[in-house]
Amino acid sequence: MSANFRTAEDGRIDRSRPLGFRFDERSYQGFPGDTLASALLANGVHLVGRSFKYHRPRGILSAGADEPNALVAVRRDEARYTPNLRATQVELYQGLSAESQNRSPSLAFDIGAVNDRLSRFFPAGFYYKTFMWPRKAWERWYEPWIRAMAGLGRAPTLPDPDRYANRFAHCDVLVVGAGPAGLAAALSAAEAGARVILCDEQAEFGGSLLAESDATIEGKPAATWLAETVALLALKPRVTLLPRTTAFGYFAYNMVGLAERLTEHLAEPDPALPRERLWQVRAREVVLAAGAIERPLVFPGNDRPGVMLADATRTYLNRYGVKCGSRAVVVTAHDAAYRAALELHRAGVAIAAIADLRTAANGPLPEAARAAGLPVRPATTITGTGGRLRVTAASLAPLAAESDRRGAEPLTCDLVLMSGGFTPSVHLFSQSRGKLRFDGELAAYVPGHSVQQERSAGACRGVFGLAAALADGAAAGEAAARAAGFSAARARSFACHASGFGTGGIRSVLPNAHGAKAFVDFQNDVTADDLVLATREGFHSIEHVKRYTTTGMATDQGKTSNMNALGIVSEALGKPIPEIGLTTFRMPYTPVSFGILAGPSRDELFDPVRTTPIHDWATAHGAVFEDVGQWKRARYFPAPGEDMERAVARECRAVRQSTGIFDASTLGKIEVVGPDAVEFMNRIYVNAWSRLGAGRCRYGLVLREDGFIADDGVVGRLAENRFHVTTTTGGATRVLAQMEDYLQTEWPELEVWLTSVTEQWAVIAVQGPRSRAVLEGLVEGIDIASRAMPHMSVAEGRIRGVPTRLFRVSYTGELGFEVNVPADYGRAVWEEIFEAGQPHGITPYGTETMHVLRAEKGYIVVGQETDGTATPDDVGLTWAVGKTKPDFVGKRSLARPAMRAPGRKQLVGLLTEDPHFLLEEGAQILAAPNQKAPTKPLGHVTSSYRSATLGRTIALAMIAGGRDRMGEMLYVTTAERPVPAKVTSPVFYDPEGARLDAA
């Protein structure tokens, strides 16, 4: 099978270095410069895949990004397994290993192909009409079958080890596409001094020039001009050249997304290089020079391996030195196919016939073909092809006899060239939200009104032919540079000789092709009949036709098929194409990897890991951490052999009996400073601040304007004009943002400023009856005796020489202090306190113990007791609300009827009848034990812990009318049956607060 279809010379491959590669377990040879597709064709391999639905054998249709058929998986190793790659875009390297997809057991013999036999039962949308009975069979049988039949390749199964990178970039002119138009544009813009980025999805710049056989530019062969031009551009410091880089998306404000592939073509990638890089380019001006895509013809058997786009075979010949077959039948509606026929003929491929669908074929190219002795047959159509895994014959028939397929003459061949003309690539223009215009003369959609700073040039706007494309590109480059402010820009002009491009085209099914398998969308197996069926069933909008038939929805997004589909629908509905409209072009232009979009974000770079100055100490002392927002917080410090429950019990006892030390550095901190500080605090917080003296603290509560609790924290008044505000760990950013919002937009007259100091201060909580004793010897310049420094006060001084803001506050119910020191000193001061605490049995504790201790005291955690629907009164904090204040954020909302209605959920304690039964947080509370669902629960458990102090379990709950239910027995859901629990006060421990001063 491994025949040699390589030409003797020519092409851009490096024949001196043969490369070995594998496809489906067979070994082949190719050369640097090959794609997998060209190398396979050089070995005579056309059959490369199976279609999506009918599992029909498929070959290589095109030579580029538009390829719908030749999808393969490339496997470097299992972790680098990549499915659904276009063989036409996979660059060959030594050792490349590729496999075909969607076939079993083998590509040549695929049992899925029975679908093809049964295909008449599977027209467009068949699954909507059946598989409804019996109900269970859908999920057990039908659905798994549909799923197994669909899907192309298989997903990789191991984590991808490669790296991906990101780059934001700016330029004056971004040029997309480095064909003649793009090169000319880049040259004009760069010579004007503009910062230029030129990208092309292919490995080499040049676009269609790479397949030029005889053209000259500026008197030089096209290839020479190309090399010189690229070299010239590369020398310019303000020009960035990006080969292997696809512009995949055009976003608002001239942001274009580029996907650069750095290593995929290398046999042994440099580990320092990322596999791919996302470029987010903000361009002042964009030049789109994306070229055009050749259209297939829609006729029966047009999907047979060996049926190819005419111009693609030129590319294989001229660029890769590959003859796609030995005897070709050409079918065309455009002159360009003659050029392909001529060049193939010159290379030794026999041309069995050129069937031209047009009644006359008279342009220079057809004339040249005739002159070369090629059998030109005007007014001739193709009615079918023969062969199983490769085309062996093509049947031609005169158009006059179109109603009679028997008049067809089968011609033996191993290659069919087809050309329905060219479709300008308007993908990116359309993504830019520019309006397309239907050009009647070209019978194509071309860019119309632009809405962003962009312009199209060359074939992508219907300007075909080398000379025209060069001139158009140069003009576009000039215009772009001018628009970007480079007024000296000049358009280069290029003397150019090339064979003409010709005219022609068709966008519909060929005569006589209905009722047979004439494919429009090759990848999704959509036939002309499917499209007509959709219109018959009332799907008249092209959007409906697309979705019902799935035409244009495959991985090629209809690059080769959408125009033909439009034409067919237009005929079926009897409406001209422009009235049918188009489906929406969306990004990406070609598929982009998830990895490139995720970029470097993974593991620790997925989200910043925020740690406190004491983190390393905690790690060294065996702490188990929990994630709280982006922070890592020590949850508990297990001694050897302890689980969380035992560690927490020990930590709790230590705090209650002697003293504990806790890292509270993650608390949000805001300094509120200025003459109007107190006024500002009065407006933001529910509390009244005017009477709080300097040196004192207060528990503060912030609401949202809708009256629900937003955050809380202790606030210390450092001086008349200065407050040290603390917030919850998770609330820090939100509270500051809310404060700034009101300050800047509602009360700009207030002379007060807010500064985040969360990270300025490390906060070390020392809590427990021995805490004063521990700190006494360390603190300088502050009298921490109870009278001098009562509960809820703050003082500035030093601790072991380090400046401190010392708070006497307690979230545990015990005598306690919070030592604030500048963050760099946090660890050292922590260690000093820990050292000084040794005689007192000081014990580090974590967030879990902190939670238990505060729950024993009935203190809420915002976000745990509250859920965005709780008012101050709901959680028993009415006392905090400044009664006489005329207004504060959220006050008006608290007066709304439902906010004051009886029966709201209120914070209470719950004690299970069985003192050792631990309720689950989130468990629901029912009035009776044996209610059948659906019940209307009275509320839920918000917090639930084992209290070592009380020797039993405790829970907090939000219960409808809870404060009126004291002593009531209610029932709490568990995984099994509800358990009884009694409603109590939420304060389980030291309700008088005596311990705050116990030492």
Partner: protein, 417 residues
């Protein structure tokens, strides 16, 4: 209506599929209808179907400015579940879920409802609390939801990476087995076909441009791009465009419309057996019948009607997806798109009568109304026909915002400590 079945499929296959009739007509608008529904999404088409089927109203029209099903119905990630926290929501969404379970047969249209299970991942202690609360609340409400350990979650969804070593390891998950997905387009088409068969006029390319009210204030007619249509009852079910339509009747709504993006991968063979969602790291994913991974991306930050969004939104989503499923880094995005979602202050819908007589509204479904389609349609029909809400949608009024009653599913998941 032509019945669909395996048999009819075979029969028509033998006839070259020439015998299929249009699934719906393309009628000209009449001068007057008993009721007009604005918006031919799943909700609007479904409401018309239930009005005709259950309330005997046959002279009704659904007006659609574009093509039917082309709004959010045609652009959502198709996740269906009912494990909502609050009683009111659970009742509403479970009403829908029960209708889903028989919808294909009811409509004689295979909507490919696939109860593959919806798994919501917990990554922090706080998440665990929230989701356990959901589990308990749902069970009390008769809605299935169960707690899985991280290992059980991995077993249920083998591609899932649960850590350790994960930036946010998976600590467990809440699983609703009855949840799943359905084929979005089929829902719109199935309702359209069934409604059409009952005489409903579905009028596409017909944009409502004004609402006429009589001297007493009640609605009298709509003006459209295809002329005026008299009617006494208007049900607005215009999703992202609701504010614009309601402004025609002089109402300012508690709504904002945001772009919400989604994307699909290239299709691959079946390997993702369920729906997985993570609120904490913002990702949700399932695999469709065709093999694509269907992935919900986030909302863009600002009000917009453009059905386009910025690149950083899907990029952030894919970061999260690759974190949870690191073998998907080499999968490729095939297409990305946006819809316009109408968001209320408490993230719960409004499905109610309005202060304007004869004007009913169904909106505010935001990022999650596909799953409600049959339920919302059913209840909207009820509310229009009886001029009063069904007990299930009675809490979902506009006035709840005035009174301070919120059904805040979003706040219930807020993180703060």
């Amino acid at each position: 209506m032509q019945r669909f079945s395996a048999l009819s499929l075979i029969r028509h296959s033998l006839g070259g599929h020439l015998g299929w009739q249009p699934q719906w007509r393309s009628p000209e608008p009449k001068a007057e209808y008993d009721a007009v529904i604005v918006g031919a999404g799943g909700h609007g088409l479904g409401a018309a179907y239930y009005l005709a089927k259950e309330h005997g109203m046959r002279n009704i029209a659904v007006l659609e400015k574009g093509w039917l099903g082309g709004g959010n119905t045609g652009r959502n990630t198709t996740i269906i579940r009912s494990n909502y926290l609050y009683d009111e929501s659970a009742a509403l969404y479970d009403h829908a879920l029960k209708l889903w379970e028989n919808l294909s047969r009811e409509l004689n249209y295979n909507v490919m409802f696939s109860q593959r299970g919806v798994m919501m991942l917990a990554h922090t202690v706080h998440d665990v609390q929230i989701f356990k609360r959901h589990v308990h609340a749902n069970r009390a409400n008769g809605v299935d939801n169960e707690w899985l350990t991280a290992e059980q979650a991995k077993e249920f969804c083998p591609p899932l990476h649960i850590g350790p070593g994960l930036r946010y390891p998976v600590l467990g998950a809440a699983l609703q087995r009855r949840g799943g997905t359905a084929r979005h387009d089929a829902v719109a088409w199935g309702y359209a076909r069934a409604a059409d068969a009952l005489g409903v006029d579905i009028i596409q390319n017909c944009e409502v441009t004004a609402i006429r009210r009589g001297t007493a204030g009640a609605v009298e007619a709509v003006e459209t791009s295809r002329g005026a249509i008299r009617t006494r009852k208007i049900g607005v079910s215009a999703a992202g465009n609701t504010s614009v339509v309601m402004a025609m009747a002089g109402l300012r709504m508690p709504l904002e419309s945001y772009p919400l993006q989604a994307l699909v991968s290239e299709p691959v063979k079946p390997m993702f057996p369920c729906v997985a969602m993570s609120n904490t790291i913002h990702a949700y994913i399932s695999q469709s019948d065709k093999g694509e991974l269907v992935i919900g991306a986030g909302m863009d930050a600002y009000v917009s009607y453009s059905q386009h969004g910025a690149l950083h939104i899907p990029a952030q989503t894919l970061e999260a997806i690759c974190e949870l499923f690191p073998m998907f880094r080499r999968m490729r995005m095939l297409r990305n798109w946006g819809g316009i979602v109408d968001v209320t202050p408490d993230r719960s819908p409004i499905l109610a009568k309005t202060e304007v007589a004869g004007l009913y509204v169904n909106c505010g479904w935001g990022t999650g109304g596909f799953k409600a389609t049959p339920g919302a349609a059913h209840l909207l029909a009820w509310t229009i026909a009886k001029d009063e809400p069904h007990p299930i949608n009675a809490p979902f009024t506009i006035e709840r915002f005035r009174d301070g009653v919120v059904i805040d599913e979003a706040a219930a998941a807020a993180v703060s400590h």
